[in-house]
Symmetry: C2
Subunit: 438 residues, 2 copies
Amino acid sequence: MVDLLLKAAFAVPMTGADDVIEDAAVTVRDGRIEFVGRACDLPDTSAASTVDLGHHILMPGLVNAHGHAAMTLLRGLADDADLQSWLREHIWPIEGQFVDASFVRTGTQLAMAEMLRTGTTLFSDMYFFPEETADAAIAAGMRCQIAFPVADFAGRWAASASECLSRGLDLFDRYRDEALVQVAFGPHAVYTVDDAHLKKILTYANELDAPIHIHIQENAAEIDECLKARGERPIATLKRLGLLGPNLQTVHATILNDQDIQDLAEAGASVVHCPHSNLKLGSGIARINDLKAAGVNVAIGTDGAASNNALDMFAETRQANLLSRSGAEGGSSMSAFDTLHMATLGGARALGLEEFTGSLEAGKWADIIAVDTAVPGMTPMFDPISQLVHSTAGRFVTDVWIAGRRCLRAGQLTTLHPGKLREEALHWQALIKGADSH
Amino acid sequence: MVDLLLKAAFAVPMTGADDVIEDAAVTVRDGRIEFVGRACDLPDTSAASTVDLGHHILMPGLVNAHGHAAMTLLRGLADDADLQSWLREHIWPIEGQFVDASFVRTGTQLAMAEMLRTGTTLFSDMYFFPEETADAAIAAGMRCQIAFPVADFAGRWAASASECLSRGLDLFDRYRDEALVQVAFGPHAVYTVDDAHLKKILTYANELDAPIHIHIQENAAEIDECLKARGERPIATLKRLGLLGPNLQTVHATILNDQDIQDLAEAGASVVHCPHSNLKLGSGIARINDLKAAGVNVAIGTDGAASNNALDMFAETRQANLLSRSGAEGGSSMSAFDTLHMATLGGARALGLEEFTGSLEAGKWADIIAVDTAVPGMTPMFDPISQLVHSTAGRFVTDVWIAGRRCLRAGQLTTLHPGKLREEALHWQALIKGADSH
């Protein structure tokens, strides 16, 4: 007997560009997928619970490979400001004044409410008080990678890079037996962490076989600054120090030259593409087509709501596909399947979790979402995969299971309380509005 | 006594960048707005009907200034094909085989279902059997401009440009007394209508004081072709023939040189920006910042669902703002207000209807939408205007009134029947799928 049997008109397992299963069934036992295929091929099994979704598409949950969930409380703060005044006059002062454990917990819950409703099952996060993020995710049944922040400057979570590291190392013990949480090193960027600490991070990461997650070459100014300070580009710094490897997740990589691309490809590092954030902050359009052509694994991330302002991975995926056709990325544009692959298996691979999630396959975690197609915005449908990419399908996600647990049921969150969350968020909104004088 | 009193936490009337009314009230009498302001300033009036929306934003309905509504039945057809094979191997053959009055009616209804749900109250349309589009709009209570198509080649609606013109001229009489419908001339493009017919259109348009709506300089190939055929760029053709004037709506204008921009500005012509379609078809990123700087009125359109694939004007508006920051448009990027202005008053002005719609002002048509802010994706909110632009607010539209008639009530369509529409659309889907062999 299986725990759960899901039926739907379609399944898009993300195992191949032509793999669309009609009249599909998926079974789940002990939080893992046991069967994916046509309902008529389902072995004769009884199920403790059966959900027949009708005209839906079942597919793997999306992987949001970069964000700062708690910053959802800063959504829309100074939207029209340019990057420097946005950071220096608004975001950093407000963070310095308000960010604490409670801020991070509420902000993370608010972010998860939006991510679950739009089909994300696994998110990578980099923010202060990462234990609050992890605990909130566990409570909500969401999967996460917490890339604990390491930076030279004092923050509200830790006063120095060394203190960040020592607090962060504790997290590996704390979440050792927690299947929903993966801990990673999160050096903020090459311009905020010195070489000594970057080397220390590499040593620890190798010992613990843990991933490293870092902002890199987000905009041209960052590269100029590094050239001045170190006489090399940020990716060259990572290469020189030995960080450039398969465990490295490089975020943004908006501004790349051919050498950068070759270095990323040779090292087997992943890139996390954040197309909306890159546009909103005026950073530019990343050379994703060229990265794909060079064989680099690319994932997709929303970045924080303060620079996006939505946490809808389907919208992000559509944008990745559209920008791939803009002429600004070089190379040949991506197919719909290639783009959706970035948002699922590409993300899982970047996080070192492709063995466990990112596709619907027997033995993987049961991280599954259902998208309604019986709505005007999804009608007609000639190709389920390109429809998912181009029709902003996040609006039509109705159900989400993570490790087999139903976190969204017919559009309603089962583990989070939007009403209560909204009240708490409005409390923070009032405080922040009072303090943000610009 | 007024017919309708609306109350909401906020109103964004689009009368100025700083105009956000808290605890707002709007009253409607005989399909027109009578009062917009703070509820406490409302004159002592009784209302036949009162709707208290709570934590919503009231704002003018969005103006979708370019589309082909019936093509919603081709949504997602050959998404991954390039422009030429998409048109020549898929869209045109399918249109040639299937487009008739019934196709246009169903496709238009499907399009309106999506547009109403995402806050559009007025759409401009260019497609065969425009009378079907207009009649469907009237039945659904939606406002539209039908730019009847004129092209040299034989279509299913008319066999020649002359027949297009004669059929189209009948429409002015047919809809003379219909407040919801405006008729415009829709010469397809400079490469599909010869100079003689363009001049004829100008003559008629001047006589009737009617707008002209035309695709122009959508991609580089179109310009090359015109240079070869006429020895000038398409905008120069329009200028030479005298069409470039305040009644002209130029659609796409993706590829512009400085002279084009100066010509558009001097003539007082409007540009309809279709950012998603331009990206999806690989046409490029239009120089909207430069157009705005030159004083050109810019509107926003979704284009047809076959090249988008969504008809969500909020998503389109967000994209317009983001691309404005991409570095590809030249000039300074747009504020959130400027972008939302394009989607409301800019559209109304392009269509020659700014006296009647595009903002919440006493005397204008009561074309009003309500956006819910009590949802995770709209929380917190520091600035209602930038929130509307950046947080993909189309998902959160709950109510729509057009000329005071409620066409969407708490997310439910009141004048269209999604279930029936879906059945009809699936019928077309099956036919088209059978015929589209690629």
